[in-house]
Amino acid sequence: MGRYIFRRLLQAIPTLLGVSILSFLLISAAPGDPVTLRTFGDVRMTEQARQVLRQQLGLDQPFFVQYLAWMTGWSVRQGDQVAALTTPQVRCSYWKGLQLTLCDRGGGILRGDLGTSLDTKQPVWARVVERMAATLELGVASLLLSLALGVPLGVLSAVHRGSVFDNVVRFFAVIFQAIPIFWMALLLILFFAVYLGWLPTGGRQTVSLTQEFDLGDRIRHLLLPALVLSFGGIAGFSRIMRTEMLEVLHADYIRTAQAKGLVSGQVWFVHGLRNALIPLMTVMGPAVVGVLGGAVVVETLFAWPGMGRLTVNAAFQQDYPVVLGTGMFFALLTVAGYLLSDLFYAAVDPRVRFE
């Protein structure tokens, strides 16, 4: 098992590297730059001053030089500039064969530094970690909700195949998979928060002076966004569970269990469900991807202070270090989701490990 985990971890590296290159490419290909955006209309800024700013941020360098600096903290300049670039903090050396000056400015992703935000001047790391808990809270809640509702619905629907219940569940599974979640969110906000006034319209907790932790208040804030985010999962899980259960129910061991005189509920949920759950593990990875993608929209709609909203705002503000940082974290969470689902799968089905 240990070797299997190690191998899967190694396989995650190219994915992360790919995401880093892709997001960096996208951003450097983008027209317009953050310096112009931030100093637009500022009469004190001259074109020369803007150029200096760009140089300080390294925006005047070609793509791969910027990428290298972002990954490793090493910056490369042409010609011998050791004297010009060396400071007490920065060590430089000249590479004669290639006529390049190499400076170690410190930082870089590989040393665990994501850079600093252009807007707040905070380390990106701190801004992301601050938001990560909120996104995890929302994501885990909605995954649990979709499992808790989707699995039993699918099982019952398979057991009562062809009944009114089955047809209703299948119909709504298609509907809920089809409806855009942002529209669903608008309607639910209007109904539960505005019309009935039962739940807050957004945010993670009621703003108060003391900011004490109040579990009831937190849950009331969490309920609507988690529900909206879980609709797709409920529909998807119930459809998969129905198909899997239908196959399992024809198996001999189910007939044996029934012949022994076990109660139906026990047969379905103990003997049947266990075996039908195995294929569900394979869709957990894509489910995590779906939840993370949905979180971007749901967080924006419910003013939920998570990573999705941070990404959206940073993208609008062209705060590139933050966009890149959150992009890497989204990739990391996705890889972790796939990894976990593979590990669960390997745990329940030993054949996978020996492939």
Partner: protein, 333 residues
């Protein structure tokens, strides 16, 4: 060897009285799925309405009427000229029914173009990768795996927010922008942004079709008829395009139908968040975004772009379901 691939094509044998063609079987089975048939009707009606938007719409697309009694106004609001707005007006007094029709034009045409191009792209890449194997297959498979393992929406959002917000002239082929501008009945500047949006959706959208087609090609290439084709000297190109792709098309059709729903939602979501289709071009997504600002006073507002939006996505899903049942050879009845 003088036998050409053409001469091996079987002539149609005279059929016995009642036997149905493959197409008739599929059609008959599809027609049994009542929800799917109803969905086709919904899509056709909306499509025709969208196509005829300039003729059907009671008002010009961007006609602002600030003298109207209430803004936003509910269905049945009278304009300052005394004409009725069937679905009411938005915050600028623009006719919602008119904008809904033009919005349908935007949503449906983006969806159809994006899906057709990305499925074509995916089918060809997948078929070649699966059939030929080797390094090309490795590259395509890894790429697909990679694109499927990253959360698409954040990437779409970041890309779109960067590309859409810029005023700089992007190097877009004039053919594409002209065509989109004609189709949306919108000026070229508005079309530019729509083309950017479509390009992004295509670049991330071809993976499903490629994966399906690769799988089909892998199973088909070992079958006897391919061996026979090789024996008579059919070229790889011919085998792939005339035999592998047509034989593997069934799951692609289902995938395309579900893809249409996916693209409609993706476009609406991006436009809703403000990085997709931009005002004044109406799209159901950006209409909902405006509706959101006024919905606390006018709770009916999100329903007007929302109901057709859901109808379309649900319809494409049901059509996909119907196609899946109709094309599944295991359920032959």
């Amino acid at each position: 060897m003088s036998v050409s691939a053409e001469s091996l094509t079987l002539r149609k044998l005279p059929r016995e009285g009642k036997e149905e063609s493959q197409f008739q079987i599929v059609l008959r089975r599809f027609l049994r799925h009542r929800l799917a048939v109803a969905s086709v009707a919904v899509i056709v009606v909306l499509f025709v309405a969208a196509l005829l938007a300039p003729l059907v719409a009671p008002f010009p697309r961007d006609a602002v009427d600030i003298a109207v009694a209430t803004r936003p106004g509910p269905p049945g609001t009278m304009s300052s000229q005394g004409e009725m707005h069937p679905l009411g007006v938005d915050h600028l007094g623009r006719d919602l029914f008119t904008r809904l029709l033009y919005g349908a034009r935007v949503s449906l045409s983006i969806a159809f173009i994006v899906v057709v191009i990305s499925e074509l792209f995916g089918v060809v890449l997948g078929a070649v990768a699966g059939f030929m194997g080797g390094w090309f297959d490795t590259v395509i498979s890894r790429l697909v795996e990679f694109l499927l393992s990253i959360p698409t929406l954040p990437i779409l959002l970041i890309t779109a927010s960067i590309l859409i917000k810029t005023e700089a002239q992007l190097p877009l082929p004039a053919v594409a922008t002209d065509f989109v501008s004609w189709m949306l009945a919108a000026p070229i500047q508005e079309a530019n942004k729509v083309v950017v949006l479509m390009a992004i959706l295509i670049l991330l959208g071809w993976t499903g079709a490629a994966r399906l087609m690769r799988g089909m090609a892998l199973t088909l290439r070992n079958q006897d008829f391919v061996e026979a084709l090789r024996a008579v000297g059919a070229s790889n190109t011919r085998i792939i395009f005339r035999h592998i792709i047509p034989n593997g098309l069934a799951p692609i059709l289902v995938n395309a139908s579900l893809g249409l729903a996916g693209i409609v939602i993706a476009e609406a979501t991006l436009s809703f968040l403000g990085v997709g289709v931009q005002e004044p071009t109406p799209s159901w997504g950006n209409m909902l975004s405006t509706a959101q600002s006024y919905m606390f006073q006018h709770p009916w507002l999100p329903l007007i772009p929302g109901i057709p939006l859901c109808l379309v996505t649900i319809a494409f899903n049901f059509i996909g379901d119907g196609l899946r049942d109709a094309l599944d050879p295991r359920l032959k009845r």
